[in-house]
């Protein structure tokens, strides 16, 4: 066997193994969501389905799943816009203006990236704090928390992108009489589209996927986010895997689509040092 063929073969085998162990749970889950109930529950499991149907999707859409998906979509979109606006202003100041307290703000932002993933340590204090502020179980509480959790990453990604733009752009804009805001929004940000996309994607995924705060800070079914709805389904359907897998599939569809389209942006965002586990 020539080396190129052998190399290609190894590539295919390793690629297939990665596909199997990495995407296996997702593919097996999507497949299960489309199979009839008795076939899912049959032991030993049969990899090839006899028929595919959407009965489990009907079951869950008749429950509280769609309102939860809608609530999460709204939370995620609000998070994206708020984090991009506040984040680009902060990123600009941190990168372009030498103001007093800049290093303190820089520290708050940078430390906020991993801190925001410290859900376990933060949730009880946050809960007590929100009760005190009277925000508990209101429509504002989850968007506010999600903005705070995702803003540090957004600032960091945008700051990295602005840092890569020459200050000559600012000088040229100043000669044309543009102030700082116009320079930022009309000259600089349009040149940072990939970073804006990456930041938006991070915020969207972060808000859409959040569970712990969502399970604690709201009680009203109308405010319940999608991940909490899926978790509650687990208690409700128990070992009836079909509807559970259908709700899991629906929850990852937006993520997978966003990934196939913007995956490269996200990878470049990740590698720019904006890292959250």
């Amino acid at each position: 066997m020539s080396t190129t063929i052998r190399k290609k073969l190894t590539l295919i085998i390793i690629g297939a193994l990665v596909l199997l162990f990495n995407l296996g749970p997702i593919l097996w889950g999507v497949l299960g969501s489309l199979r009839p109930r008795d076939e899912i529950m049959r032991y030993p499991p049969e990899p090839i389905p006899s028929t595919l149907g959407i009965e489990h999707y009907r079951t869950i859409t008749e429950g509280g799943f769609l309102p939860a998906a809608q609530a999460s979509l709204i939370y995620a979109v609000v998070t994206v816009f708020a984090a991009l606006i506040a984040g680009s202003l902060a990123a600009y100041a941190l990168d372009r203006i030498r103001f007093v307290g800049r290093s303190v703000v820089m520290f708050l932002v940078l430390a906020g990236i991993p801190l925001a993933s410290g859900a376990a340590a933060l949730i009880v204090p946050t809960y007590l704090y929100m009760v005190k502020l009277g925000l508990n179980d209101t429509v504002f509480v989850l968007p506010l928390v999600y903005i705070a959790y995702n803003l540090p990453t957004a600032v960091w990604v945008l700051r990295g992108a602005l840092g890569g733009l020459s200050s000559e752009l600012d000088e040229a804009a100043a000669i044309d009489g543009a102030g700082r805001l116009r320079t930022l929004f009309e000259i600089l940000l349009p040149l940072c589209k990939p970073a804006i996309g990456a930041a938006a994607l991070f915020c969207f995924v972060g808000a859409w996927n959040e569970f712990v705060a969502g399970s604690v800070l709201v009680d009203n079914p109308d405010l319940r986010p999608i991940q909490v709805s899926i978790y509650q389904n687990m208690g409700y359907f128990g070992r009836d895997w079909g509807p559970l897998l259908a709700s899991a599939t629906l929850a990852i569809v937006p993520i997978i689509i966003a990934f196939l389209i913007f995956g490269r942006l996200l990878i470049s965002g990740l590698t720019k040092g904006a890292v959250k586990g």
């Binding site: 596909l19 162990f21 990495n22 995407l23 296996g24 749970p25 097996w28 889950g29 299960g32 899912i40 030993p44 499991p45 990899p47 984040g87 902060a90 100041a93 941190l94 203006i97 307290g101 708050l108 940078l110 801190l115 993933s117 410290g118 859900a119 376990a120 933060l122 949730i123 009880v124 204090p125 809960y127 007590l128 704090y129 506010l144 928390v145 903005i147 705070a148 803003l151 540090p152 600032v155 700082r180 995924v205 859409w208 959040e210 569970f211 991940q227 899926i230 929850a251 990852i252 993520i255 990934f259 995956g263 490269r264 990878i267 990740l270 590698t271 040092g273 890292v275 959250k276 586990g277």
Partner: protein, 296 residues
């Protein structure tokens, strides 16, 4: 000497800077740092019961730490976090090295494949992990049966459950480590390897003397980030094992969550949360230092 014009310019610079960062700073102080600080303050007072509001100081910390269950939770947490971080970084490093040797197109496809479990939510990830890897109706155990290695129910022993929990964390976060380490590998100039090869260094020597030291930054950053994520994950133990059997997979994160929101023991929960928060701060400080180191 400071002229009047300079003074105005300085004021304006500071004013603009502070104005631009104000929304971000206010949001972070109010919603991220505020709760943490207020949580510590509140943990010093009795949160409910007969003497609600009474100052108890650090006594409750001493009580919580000396309770018999505490050592067990710390041990499970340490085992879970260390096992997951070591597993994720080692496997991620191997896959990153492999992808680094591929052509661009295959490398890009594999990167996107490998990152997908990281991008889906922990709730869904944990659910699908159980379904594929742990259930007797899942394909993983069936495939092991095909090749003649029957696997028992991982939930039948504490060790089995812990291994399943660690594996779920490795599966979920692997792509993150791969992407981070791969970008580190790409940043190593090829000339270093050329020069070493000319000097007669073996592949192993090149790996040990060039790759590993130059990758120390990304290795440290990914370990710290993964450590924080694993230390704080509620969803994985909650859904993959439920903390069982017999609390053998109850990590501190799950313990806080259950104490606060199913047993309504806010006092113990907030005390444990603040202890965890202190560990988080140490890890965050390490993170900030290593990211700053990378930036220079």
């Amino acid at each position: 000497m400071m002229t009047r014009a300079n003074l105005i310019k300085g004021w304006r610079r500071n004013g603009h800077g502070l104005l631009y960062v104000a929304p971000t700073v206010v949001l972070l102080l109010l919603l991220l740092y505020g709760p943490a600080i207020s949580g510590f303050y509140q943990s010093l007072f009795r949160l409910g019961g007969a003497n609600a509001g009474a100052f108890i100081g650090m006594d409750v910390y001493a009580t919580v730490v000396s309770e018999p269950g505490f050592g067990k939770v710390v041990a499970s947490t340490a085992f879970f976090v260390l096992g997951s971080v070591i597993g994720t970084v080692t496997l991620g490093f191997a896959i990153a090295l492999y992808i680094n040797g591929l052509d661009d197109v295959s490398a890009r496809i594999l990167q996107i494949w490998v990152i997908i479990p990281w991008a889906i939510s922990s709730v869904v990830g944990a659910l699908l992990f159980r379904w594929f890897y742990m259930s007797d109706l899942g394909l993983f155990r069936e495939m092991l049966r095909w090749i003649g290695i029957p696997m028992m129910d991982p939930m039948s022993t504490g060790t089995g459950a812990m291994l399943a929990l660690i594996m779920s964390a490795v599966w979920k976060k692997l792509g993150f480590a791969v992407i981070l380490l791969l970008s580190g590998l790409k940043a190593i100039p090829q000339d270093y390897y050329e020069a070493a090869r000319i000097d007669g260094a073996s592949a192993l020597q090149r790996f040990r003397e060039i790759t590993v030291p130059l990758l120390a930054g990304p290795l440290l950053i990914s370990s710290v980030v993964l450590g924080i994520a694993d230390l704080n994950t509620v969803e994985l133990p909650l859904i993959v094992t439920g903390g069982g059997p017999l609390d053998s997979t109850t990590t501190v994160a799950l313990s806080i969550y259950q104490k606060a929101f199913s047993q309504y023991d806010l006092q113990r929960a907030i005390t444990l949360a603040i202890i965890t928060f202190v560990v988080n701060i140490v890890l965050v400080a390490l993170y900030v230092r290593s990211v700053r180191g990378q930036e220079e």
